[in-house]
Amino acid sequence: MFDRRITIFTGHFGSGKTEVSVNYALQTAERGKKTAIVDLDIVNPFFRTADVRNMLEDKGIKVVTPVYANTNVDVPSLPAEINTMFEDRSYSVVLDVGGDDLGARAVSRYKEQIAGEDHIHYFVVNTRRPMTRTPEEIERMIWEIQTTAGIDVDMLVNNANLLGSTTPELLGEASSILHKVSEKLSIPIGFISGMQEVLFEYSGDPDIERLYMIKNIRLPWEEK
């Protein structure tokens, strides 16, 4: 983890890619790397990395978002600034891609540039989402996304969650589903991600890396 020039996160929409991307970028920056996060999510106009922009910038992370994030008009366009992320090799870049094959279309625009760089493509899975609950459904989603993106999936991420009701048992349940996918498609499980208080309690998969996350996005009734 954290050692590639470009890290791409895709998945079923609602898989938790944004939370994973934000935490991954924060921990990349904590390792002293010059870090940028690119919000390539042009599918979902609410609850994006743009929401936590200030917090990320305070930590010295460069944030690149679709142009609509500033105008509030729901016709998103990809800023030219994204290209500089491929040109300027001093950056470690995290790409938060929109959900499903529809979202993956945006990143396919950069597939040639990405192919020429040291990169890794993580496919984020929450097995408690309606279209990625079984190995068959997950396989189909991977196929749809990597075909549209034009970038092969390198590793799976176990991000099983029910938000605040996530339990260590849920991660275990997801693990057995993901191991089946991993075996069939020969795609290894890259890491397990979860809110730190839950992930500390999970004793399974001792050989797999972990991303301990903190919650960055809150709803109006969750504010203190």
Binding site: F13, G14, N44, P45, F46, F47, N72, D74, L102, N126, R128, R129, P130, M131, R133, N161, L162, L163, S165, L219, P220, W221, E223
Partner: protein, 351 residues
């Protein structure tokens, strides 16, 4: 009950409709409710149903008119400007007494407005956005779980009374994810749709679905029939949640996602020794007038909190009929009232 899964409000709308036996969806994409159409597009083929992205919102609502005339369970969804476009066909369908479910995931207006959460379509939904003396049932869920339950109910209410039923949410409810647990089997009201135009098979007189009545005596009679039905719905289907109201210093009226913010305000206020009650209308029409009457003289004042310039507050005032002062706090344009500003307003009123 099955296991809990994590879903977006908009996805749940489509999933609940499929579970309620809806096999026909006509719509046109608009933020923040496009995932409804997205989900139907992916799932409807598995059920052998019809998904059509119509050429416009107007066309979609007229397709609903057609499918409902044939007795099918049918739905359309949109967001504010799109719902405005549907109004002519909504009025026609109301006159023709067609059962159908319409979803409005409201965005901030007026005009093309913005895509963020708002409740500024309360008047449009409850007072008749289209022309004529009609009403439709308007359900306002405040969580993703409740959204699921009310969508299923909406189909049953629509069939039971031959009426239109609207689900009114906001961008927050449509977009946010929450855990949801589905029943193993939905309770589906089986209506006798002997009135539907399904072909006579040369065995009966033909049925007629229409919204034109040229003869004034007949049109008035038809209107009286509609009004009687609206009274029946008011009697049987009014829904409301009351919380912490007995002995309250102040009662807040709020619906949908705003009511959830109020529940946290209640906890904070309690620490300061202020007892805040909540009346949460679940049906915006029929409005829970009787509940407001019941608590009219309990608190020192009422406060309506909305994401609008003050729309539901008019029904709160009408219901209380001068028995208690009614205050208002609203945010517009996609801004959401914060717990802090609501609490400050409450302190100011009680001073």
């Amino acid at each position: 009950m099955g296991e809990k899964i994590l879903m977006k409000g908009n996805e749940v709308i489509a999933e609940a409709a499929l579970r309620a036996g809806c096999r026909h969806y006509f719509g046109y994409p608009i933020t923040p409710q496009t995932e409804v159409a997205h989900y139907f597009a992916k799932k409807m083929p598995e059920y052998g149903g019809t998904f059509i992205q119509a050429e416009s919102e107007i066309a979609a609502m007229n397709m609903v008119y057609g499918a409902a005339s044939a007795g099918a369970r049918v739905m359309t969804s949109s967001s504010s400007p799109g719902i405005s476009l549907k109004q002519e066909a909504i009025s026609y369908a109301a006159c023709a007494e067609l059962p159908a479910v319409i979803v409005n995931i409201v965005r901030a207006g007026p005009g093309l407005g913005g895509i963020l959460a708002s409740q500024c379509d309360y008047f449009q939904s409850t007072k008749g956005g289209g022309h004529g003396d009609y009403r439709m049932v308007v359900l306002a869920p405040s969580s993703v779980q409740e959204l699921y339950e009310l969508v299923v109910d909406a189909f049953n209410i629509a069939d039971r009374y031959r009426t239109l039923c609207m689900i009114m949410g906001d961008g927050m409810l449509g977009q946010m994810m929450e855990g949801v647990e589905f029943s193993d089997q939905e309770e589906i009201f089986k209506a006798d749709k002997g009135w539907a135009v399904t072909g006579t098979g040369m065995t009966r007189e033909n049925n007629m679905i229409t919204s034109i009545y040229i003869d004034p005596e007949i049109l008035e009679k038809h209107n009286l029939k509609l009004q009687a039905k609206y009274r029946e719905i008011t009697e049987n289907e009014t829904r409301v949640e009351t919380y912490n109201c007995d002995g309250a210093d102040i009662i807040v009226a709020a619906y949908g996602t705003v009511a959830r913010i109020i529940k946290n305000v209640i906890k904070t206020a309690e620490k300061e020794g202020i007892k805040v009650g909540l009346i949460r209308p679940i049906t915006l029409w029929p409005f829970p007038t009787a509940t407001f009457e019941k608590y009219a003289e309990v608190p020192k004042a009422f406060l309506s909190v909305e994401m609008s310039a003050g729309q539901m507050v008019e029904d709160v005032r009408l219901s209380l009929n001068g028995k208690s002062p009614v205050h208002f706090l609203g945010r517009m344009g996609g801004m959401i009232p914060t717990q802090k500003e609501i609490l400050e307003k409450i302190r100011e009123i009680l001073k």
